[in-house]
Symmetry: C2
Subunit: 219 residues, 2 copies
């Protein structure tokens, strides 16, 4: 077994599952039940199972399915982390993915009996996570921000129907700064990713129209 | 051995090494000497060697060092490809990188006796490459284009000293369309990535000033 472990690195996946809550970007952390790094907080992850998984992405979806009871539309690769020292079990490769959970689906997160779950502030730099997961988290946040900064709307983080006010707020939370309302609205008018609905909710001053993501939207 | 191959996937790296030549974006292909896919053209690649490599990127640099006699400044991860069917040897992970070779360094490419090398048109879709390397190539081109489209200057593809005319041409070749000269020049004036030199070469009408990348430039 020692010989084969020298020839074949350990291959796993880790996932930064984001949602927006309490006016901030949140990431799911789990407290590890087993060694290595037992009792420490980490991103959820698992070892690739070649007999079960048809790809690294499907491994990430399998690991997520143990934590979240809904199918997530978006699971996207961020980058790999690798080397002899990042896991005490030996030379290892971790492929990091991020996934986005809509605002109204956090109740779909299933807390298993043996481990503790937490929605931590994703932008805080205070997390001392297991393995190299603090670096994982900052890379995942950076990728998410870069997409939103490049004008991709973070519709996967919103409920199925949402107001433009909600959309602007989620966008601002990810970017970490306020946006000018009139230029943001102008941009949304030209967007093919939004579908107007003939439904309204009570707004702060007057009824606010609801929108949904178009079928062709991709993050 | 069969059991371990079921538990541990094969992990390798593949590299799309780009340069600009003959007014087009070129990618290095090698003709495979050994099975699987012997005699077919492929991106250069190799199996991760945990006892030699300190990371997947250093594996990519090791594989490149067998082909190119200079240290390449830029070797960047594109994404992973994985699954049970992409390599006849079993469940495998390939981590794709791209690297950029400056215009005046193509002579640094060492042709080994046992394999044939070719600089193929990277934008042609006619390549029927071994494994899933045709898809690798199109993903690497897409990543390179996205960077250049997001206004990152492709300075790694230029010689150490270059004219603005050369820079515009290389940028146009990658993007696949001409750029307006005056707005491109305006953008370059504001760029912190360029350093003016007090050196000139003969230009089409008058002497053309030479430039180099600033120390802080990163692609």
């Amino acid at each position: 077994m020692v010989m084969t472990r020298e020839l074949f690195p350990l291959v796993g996946v880790d996932i930064a599952l984001f949602c927006v809550g309490d006016e901030s970007l949140r990431v799911m952390l789990v407290r590890r039940a087993q060694a290595p790094h037992a009792k420490r907080w980490a991103l959820p992850g698992g070892i690739l199972k070649p007999h079960l998984d048809s790809s690294l992405e499907s491994a990430a979806r399998r690991v997520l399915a143990e934590k979240v009871s809904i199918e997530l539309p978006l699971v996207e690769e961020v980058r790999t982390f690798s080397g002899p020292d990042r896991d005490p079990r030996g030379w290892s490769v971790s492929v990091l993915f991020y996934a986005l959970l809509p605002l109204d689906k956090t109740s779909a997160v299933v807390k298993s009996k043996i481990e503790a779950l937490e929605w931590a502030d994703a932008l805080s730099t205070d997390h001392k996570l297991a393995f190299d997961h603090s670096e994982h988290l900052s890379c995942a946040v950076q990728k998410l921000r870069a997409k939103v900064a490049a004008d991709v709307l973070p519709l996967h983080l919103l409920p199925e129907k949402f107001t433009l006010r909600q959309l602007q707020r989620v966008t601002e939370i990810i970017l970490g700064h306020p946006l000018d309302k009139s230029s943001f609205r102008r941009r949304l008018k030209e967007s093919r990713d939004l579908v107007e609905l003939d439904e309204y909710v009570r707004g702060p001053q007057r009824p606010a129209q609801l929108f949904r993501a178009s079928e062709s939207f991709s993050f």
